[in-house]
C-alpha cells in the first residue's frame, strides 16, 4: 500500500521567515533565491533576517555542542515574530526543530524561545504541501528525473513524501525510481572526511544507483547530499548532476521561453 499523499491545510500565512542555511548561502544561493521567489509568487512576504548564518549542525553532530550552542543561540533571537520559519534543507530543519531542544536543554534561558520556534519550523517542500497546499502548473518541457531525499528529511522531519507530492503535480516530469531509495548517500557532515573510505563507498553506490535510472537530472531538497553526490559524479567524469528542488520547481513554473 503506497503511503498516503500528505494533505495541506490550505491556510495562507501572510509573512514567513526564511532561513537560508550555511551551505545554500555559500554554495547554492540560487536554491535559496528560488525558494524565496516561489513563496513570493504565492503572495507571501518573505523576511530574510540578515544576521542568520548556520543552525550549528556541523559542530553538534561532530561532538562540539558548546560551539554549536553559541552559533545556534545567535540564530534563535532572529525569529521574534510568530511567523513560520522556512528552511530549504531537511537536515537543518531537523536540527532546528528537534536537536535544538536537546542542545539548549531545559535550563537554558533561551529554551522557551527554542521550544516556540520548534513548532514553527518547516522544511521548504513541507510548507508548500502541508500548509500552502499549492497546485503547480508545469510549463517546462517533458523530462525524466530522479529524487533523492535526505535521511534527516525522511526520518527526522518525515517530509520525504512532500517532495514526491510536489513532483507528482508536474505533468511533464516523470520521476524514476532508484534502487535502495532510502539508503544514506554517505555525506553525514564531518563523517565524509573523518571516515573518507566509508563515505566514498556509500556515495559511490548512491551515485551509481541514481545514474542507473537513466534520469536526465537528479533533484534533492538537501544541499549536503547534493554536494556529496554531485562531487562524486563529477569526479568520476559523469555528466549527470543534481539540482536543489527549489531551483528545479522554479524552472518548471516559469513561462516557456
Amino acid at each position: 500500500m503506497p503511503p498516503p499523499t500528505p494533505k495541506g491545510t490550505g491556510s495562507h500565512p501572510g509573512t514567513v521567515y526564511f532561513f537560508g542555511t550555511c551551505l545554500v548561502d555559500l554554495f547554492d544561493p540560487l536554491a535559496g533565491l528560488s525558494a524565496m521567489e516561489i513563496l513570493e509568487q504565492r503572495g507571501i512576504r518573505v523576511v530574510f533576517p540578515d544576521s542568520q548564518s548556520c543552525c550549528g549542525q556541523p559542530a553538534y553532530t561532530s561532538g562540539y555542542p558548546a560551539e554549536a550552542l553559541k552559533v545556534a543561540a545567535q540564530q534563535v533571537v532572529l525569529f521574534e515574530e510568530d511567523w513560520p520559519i522556512i528552511v530549504p534543507s531537511g537536515s537543518c530543519a531537523g536540527m532546528m526543530k528537534h536537536h535544538w531542544l536537546r542542545l539548549f536543554g531545559k535550563d537554558h534561558p533561551l529554551y522557551d524561545k527554542v521550544q516556540a520556534i520548534a513548532g514553527r519550523i518547516y522544511e521548504f517542500t513541507e510548507f508548500l504541501v502541508k500548509v500552502l497546499d499549492v497546485r503547480l502548473d508545469d510549463r517546462g518541457a517533458p523530462c525524466k528525473i530522479v529524487l533523492h531525499t535526505s535521511c534527516s528529511a525522511r526520518r527526522e522531519m518525515g517530509v520525504h513524501l512532500t517532495s514526491k507530492a510536489l513532483l507528482a503535480q508536474l505533468d511533464k516530469v516523470e520521476v524514476l525510481q532508484q534502487e535502495r531509495e532510502a539508503e544514506c548517500c554517505g555525506f553525514g557532515g564531518t563523517f565524509s572526511v573523518r571516515q573518507p573510505e566509508l563515505s566514498a563507498a556509500m556515495a559511490g553506490d548512491k551515485a551509481q544507483a541514481l545514474e542507473a535510472t537513466g534520469a536526465e537530472l537528479l533533484v534533492s531538497a538537501d544541499c549536503g547530499c547534493l554536494s556529496n553526490i554531485n562531487g562524486t559524479l563529477a569526479k568520476s567524469g559523469s555528466k549527470f548532476q543534481g539540482q536543489h528542488i527549489a531551483t528545479f520547481l522554479k524552472s518548471r513554473l516559469e513561462p516557456k521561453a
Binding site: 548564518s53 562524486t232 569526479k235
Partner: protein, 486 residues
C-alpha cells in the same frame, strides 16, 4: 568421527588501537566480500519487513517493548534482587561478576568443581564479551561452540561477525573447505544439508560426554525466577539439559519483572532478528533437576555480568543503551555495517549497538574513532524494536569522547575526552566565532565568493573521491540585499 581441537587460534574480540579505518578499508577494497554482505543484509531486511506488514501494529508493539524495557531499567536494582531471591528459591545459584575477569574466574571455578576439562557452549554474546574461551584455554580447559555459526568461526579460528549470525561473513564454499580440512574423516561437500549433518554428528557426541553446558539468556524474569532462551538449532536445549551442570551467563540489564513482559519482547526479538514469528526453540529454565525427575542438569548457575553496564545505567542520558534486546536489526539496516561487516569494528558487539554500548565496556579510549563511524542516517533508530535513540546517543558519545561534557559536575564516562583532536577543536572554535559574528561572517562570505578562484583544489579527504567545493559568485545574503535595493 572425533571432534577436532579447534579453538586455540581464535583471536580476541577487542582489538584496541586505531585500526578501524584500515580494517574497514580492507573490506571496502574487496568487491566479493562487499557483494556478499550486501546480499545477506538485503535478505535479512526483507525477512524482517515481511514480519511487520502493518506499520501501525509495528509501532504499537515497539511502544510496548520500549515501555517494558524502560520500566525494567527504572527498577533495575530491585528487580535484580528479586530475581536473585527467586532463582535461589528455585535452586538456581546466582553469581555476580563486575568485570570479565570475575566472570572467567567464576566459570572456571565451576568447571573445576565439576571436574570438567571441556564445556559445550550454546550461543552467548556475553561469553564472547568476557573472552571466556581464551580464559578457559589459558587455564588448561576448553570450550566447544555448538551453535552452527559459532562452531564454524571457531573451526576457522575467527570471531563472530554478527551477534545473531556469527558466520555471515563466510560463504558455503569456504565452510565446505573448512570442514574438509578441520573435521577428521570428512570429505569436501558444499551441500548445506550435509554440512549441517556433519556438524550435528560431531556435536551430538560432545553433548553426551561433556559435564558442563553453557548458555546465554534472552530474558530473566524476576517474579518467577525464570531464565528464557531463544534458539533455532536445539543446541541450546542440549547445552541446558544434557550436561550435569548448566551455567547461564548474561548481562544485568536482561531482567524483566513479570512473565507477561516476555511475549511482546519475544515477538519483537525474533521478528526483528531473523524475520521469524517465533524461533524453533524457546526454553524456559526454572530449576535444576528435581528429586522425582529423570533428566535435566543437577546444578544450574547464573552468572550476572556488569562489565560497564552500571555506568550506562547510572547516567540518565545513556541509560537507554541498556534497553537493547540484541536482535541485530540495527546492524542489518546500517549502511556502514552492510559495507564492512562485523569484524572491522574490533569489538564484541559490532554495528550501531556496538558503537553505543562498547564505550561503557571498554572506555571511550578503547573504542576510539568508532563513534565517528556513522553518517547519523538514522536507519538504526528507525528499526530498533525498543526505540533506542542510537543516533542521539552517538552524538553525545562523540561529544564525550572529544571535547568533554559541557557540564563539569556530571560524573565522567570512562575515557571521556580521550579522543580530543587539538586541530579539530581549534577548527570548531574558529568556526563558532565566525558563524556567531554577523559582521565577521559577512566579510568571510564576501571574500570566499570574490576569491572563489583561489579556493583550494585539494580539499583533503573530500577531494579524493569528489570534485572540490567552490563557493558561488555571490552569497544568498548578498543576493537578497541586492534584491532589496533594486
Amino acid at each position: 568421527m572425533s571432534a577436532p581441537q579447534v579453538n586455540s587460534t581464535q583471536p580476541m574480540h577487542f582489538m584496541p588501537g586505531p585500526g578501524f579505518r584500515s580494517r574497514s578499508k580492507e573490506v571496502l577494497d574487496n568487491p566479493f566480500l562487499r557483494q556478499s554482505f550486501r546480499g545477506a543484509m538485503d535478505f535479512l531486511m526483507q525477512k524482517r519487513a515481511a514480519q511487520f506488514p502493518d506499520p501501525a501494529n509495528l509501532e504499537a508493539l515497539r511502544s510496548q517493548g520500549e515501555a517494558i524495557r524502560k520500566y525494567s531499567l527504572s527498577r533495575l536494582p530491585d528487580l535484580l534482587e528479586q530475581l536473585e531471591a527467586n532463582l535461589t528459591r528455585n535452586g538456581i545459584q546466582v553469581h555476580w561478576a563486575e568485570n570479565p575477569e570475575q566472570a572467567q574466574d567464576i566459570i572456571a571455578g565451576l568447571m573445576e568443581k565439576a571436574q570438567a576439562p571441556l564445556m559445550v557452549k550454546g550461543k552467548s554474546m556475553v561469553s564472547e564479551e568476557v573472552e571466556l574461551n581464551h580464559a578457559l584455554i589459558a587455564r588448561g580447559m576448553d570450550a566447544l561452540e555448538s551453535d552452527m555459526g559459532e562452531y564454524i568461526v571457531q573451526l576457522a579460528g575467527e570471531r563472530p561477525s554478527h551477534i545473531i549470525m556469527p558466520a555471515i561473513h563466510k560463504t558455503k564454499e569456504e565452510i565446505a573447505r573448512l570442514f574438509a580440512e578441520k573435521v577428521p574423516g570428512v570429505d569436501y561437500t558444499d551441500s548445506v544439508d550435509e554440512l549441517i549433518q556433519i556438524g550435528r554428528r560431531v556435536l551430538r557426541e560432545k553433548f553426551r560426554e561433556t559435564k558442563v553446558g553453557l548458555s546465554g539468556v534472552n530474558f530473566a524474569v524476576a517474579e518467577t525466577g525464570t531464565l528464557c532462551l531463544v534458539e533455532n538449532e536445539g543446541n541450546g536445549r542440549m547445552c541446558t539439559t544434557v550436561p550435569d551442570m548448566h551455567i547461564a551467563i548474561t548481562g544485568i540489564e536482561k531482567v524483566v519483572e513479570k512473565l507477561e513482559h516476555v511475549p511482546p519482547l519475544l515477538a519483537l526479538l525474533t521478528r526483528s532478528a531473523t524475520g521469524q514469528a517465533v524461533t524453533t526453540y524457546f526454553n524456559w529454565i526454572s530449576s535444576p533437576r528435581k528429586a522425582h525427575e529423570l533428566d535435566g542438569p543437577k546444578e544450574v548457575h547464573l552468572v550476572l555480568v556488569d562489565n560497564g553496564r552500571t555506568q550506562a545505567y547510572a547516567r540518565e542520558d545513556f541509560r537507554s543503551t541498556l534497553q537493547c534486546i540484541r536482535c541485530g536489526a540495527c546492524m542489518n539496516h546500517c549502511p556502514v555495517y552492510t559495507r564492512i561487516g562485523g569484524l572491522a569494528y574490533g569489538t564484541t558487539y559490532p554495528g550501531p549497538i556496538g558503537k553505543i554500548i562498547s564505550p561503557h565496556m571498554l572506555g571511550l579510549e578503547g573504542t576510539g574513532e568508532l563513534v565517528t563511524a556513522s553518517s547519523l542516517c538514522g536507519a538504526c533508530g528507525e528499526v530498533c524494536p525498543v526505540r533506542i535513540p542510537i543516533p542521539e546517543l552517538l552524538i553525545d558519545l562523540r561529544a564525550r569522547s572529544q571535547s568533554g561534557g559541557p557540564d563539569p559536575f556530571t560524573p565522567q564516562l570512562k575515557g571521556e575526552g580521550s579522543n580530543r583532536k587539538p586541530f579539530m577543536a581549534l577548527a570548531f572554535s574558529l568556526w563558532s566565532l565566525l558563524y556567531r559574528s554577523p559582521g565577521l561572517y559577512r566579510l568571510f562570505a564576501w571574500s570566499a565568493t570574490r576569491f572563489r578562484a583561489l579556493a583550494p583544489r585539494n580539499q583533503g579527504a573530500w577531494t579524493r573521491t569528489r570534485t572540490p567545493l567552490i563557493p558561488a559568485k555571490k552569497s544568498l545574503h548578498e543576493l537578497v540585499r541586492e534584491r532589496r535595493n533594486q
